[in-house]
Amino acid sequence: MPRTATTWLLIAAAALIAVLPLLIGSGSHLEEPFAGADAQARGAVAEIDRGYEPWFTAVYEPPSGEIESGIFALQAAIGAGIIGYYFGVVRTRSRLAQEGAVPPEAAPTETAEADSGSTER
């Protein structure tokens, strides 16, 4: 199988596993489906029930769900941006190398290698 096809297949499989719970309605038996809270957990751990006061509260708590999801989006955007930047830089570098453009800071020995590589191609 070609490598690109396998990669797309892997992505499709990951997406399917993520979407399947929504399609088959895994959350429909719950009062608040797909909330962060694990409703099923409540009954199961009822026996360990024990009084406990949290002794420290969060320094900052997003005042609403909208702001919270905004910060989550920011977190994902920062991460995705850096990953995209990485792939952009690396692809451009390898393309420039293929075109035979030798970066000016490259040492003479590296230049020779790059030249022999391009001759070979």
């Binding site: 990669t7 429909s28 962060g36 809270a37 694990d38 420290f56 994902a76 022999s116």
Partner: protein, 259 residues
């Protein structure tokens, strides 16, 4: 009065233990346990970058991968949502100590800005996500790599990366269950009974997510193989010897052509 349900409610979806939800003795002990790993991690991070300045970008990308995946809440078959950890990639590329530093950054961001996890529980969360997860991922990677050495390079690498990311993710929540069970042992069945309960509840949610994390990490490593195989060879992820052999062959070929 807060009950263990609420600990679970607040703690389980993010896989991290919420602020103030570990008794202070536990919080202090986990902080003390995690601190040397983080210090060592920061040192290995600077060493890795100094040894190979080209690796700096990839270190950043590995940290960014952890950042993205930690922000993505994914629905699971249990009817609730949780998120992957993304620590497996960096662990197998740069070895686990580097992830102790990078994972801590992610946890700190979420503790300070999102009220997920917390400062008092940072040590415990760092220990599970940035220490135990990466080490299990790295161990799984090396084991599967050795076991599938006879298989094709792509197959072996794919299988090893998948197991590393998925098992690292599962190990993180298992460790969280251990930490919660130690803090809240069952009155009748003690630590083990409590652990079985916490782990049993989390596993339904986390296993599909671990599979997703494994698949996504494999996709990313495949892309890395394509765009930057030389870097992976320097890191020892792709075999170094064959690379040298093939470049030596290429050199011989050009010499022959020239001569």
């Amino acid at each position: 009065m807060t009950t263990v349900h609420e600990v679970l409610e607040v703690g389980s979806p993010e896989m991290h233990i919420a602020e103030g939800y570990l008794p202070w003795q536990h919080a202090a002990a986990w902080t003390a346990a995690a601190a040397p790993f983080v210090a060592h991690g920061v040192r290995s991070l600077t060493q890795a970058v100094r040894a190979d300045p080209d690796a700096k970008l990839l270190v950043g990308a590995a940290g960014a991968f952890c950042f993205v995946l930690s922000a993505l809440k994914i629905p699971s078959v249990s009817g609730s949502c949780s998120h992957p950890t993304g620590t497996g990639l960096g662990a197998l590329l740069f070895r686990p100590p580097v992830m102790a530093a990078l994972g801590t950054i992610t946890l700190l961001f979420q503790a300070l800005l999102l009220a997920h996890g917390g400062l008092t529980t940072l040590g415990a969360n760092v220990f599970s996500m940035a220490v135990v997860g990466p080490w299990v991922a790295y161990g799984a990677y090396r084991l599967v790599r050795a076991a599938t050495a006879s298989a094709g390079e792509q197959t072996s690498l794919g299988a090893a990366v998948f197991c590393a990311a998925a098992l690292g993710s599962l190990a993180t929540y298992t460790m969280t269950s251990v930490q919660l069970a130690l803090a809240f042992p069952d009155s009748a069945s003690g630590f083990l009974g409590s652990f079985t309960k916490f782990a049993g509840i989390f596993s339904v949610t986390q296993i599909p997510l671990a599979v997703i994390e494994g698949l996504v990490t494999v996709v990313l490593v495949r892309l890395l193989c394509r765009v930057n195989p030389d870097q992976l060879r320097r890191l020892g992820v792709l075999p170094r010897r064959t690379a040298e052999a093939s470049s030596a062959d290429a050199a011989v070929a050009t010499e022959n052509k020239a001569g």
